[in-house]
Symmetry: C2
């Protein structure tokens, strides 16, 4: 089984290991829209083992922490949908009271035209934060 997320990174690569990767999506309305993508082609969270579920959520929540650190959003939205591409991936989206859809989901009705401004050098800041937050604890092997 192969799909778009098997064959392409799915965005600008910010962090990766042998299990999953973090990319910045190409979403002009949301410059800090990140995705955590499982490398293997698996459909549902409950198709993973409990350890794999925890490993993936650790990366999803480190990605949330990175967005809070770098962009200080008013809210973070997390979602695993996969109706179009049934390959496990999490949307991790920084939301701001003045962003194009707030308080609607980004998939709902658009209310404004201008994205919330993003920091200069966004990719480098996000990547540096992810590397630090996802570093293995001293004395522990990486996964």
């Amino acid at each position: 089984m192969s799909c778009a997320l098997c064959d392409t990174p799915g965005g600008k690569l910010l962090w990766q290991d042998d299990f999953c990767r973090v990319v910045r999506a190409d979403e002009p309305d949301y410059p800090g829209f990140l995705r955590v993508i499982l490398n293997a082609h698996v459909m549902e969270m409950t198709d993973l083992s409990p350890t794999e579920q925890q490993d993936l959520m650790r990366v999803v929540l480190a990605t949330e922490a990175t967005l809070r650190e770098v962009m200080a959003p008013d809210k973070v939205n997390l979602a695993s949908l996969g109706n179009v591409v049934p390959h496990l991936h999490w949307h991790v989206i920084p939301r701001f009271a003045d962003d194009p859809h707030f308080p609607n989901p980004v998939w709902g009705a658009k209310l404004r035209d201008t994205p919330h401004a993003a920091p200069a050098n966004l990719d480098a800041q996000l990547a540096a934060s992810l590397i630090r937050l996802l570093a293995p604890a001293p004395g522990k092997e990486s996964r």
Copy 2:
């Protein structure tokens, strides 16, 4: 701080402990639309401790497993948004190729009028499955 999810169950109560609860939402288009709601008023997953994060995801994923067992959906959608009510709650939504929005998110454009049929006695089936899947392992204390 108090809000609608502090003051009301937020749906038909199917399972609860002292940490969180599982309710069936009042969403006529989606008879199996469940929510996992933290009892405490906390905004983001990264405001919880790592143990609390794991405890909450264990219930979210048992809820996904329950929906797969009882309704056999084509896909499960998971989301923690909270833009309107910033009190941690997870949407756990069974999706079917013939449901009103598929393959769009349930917050996107509606494509059909009729919900996918739900089993008779749905609440009882969901509650029984949740109780079984969330039972503490023998010899282990409940949380």
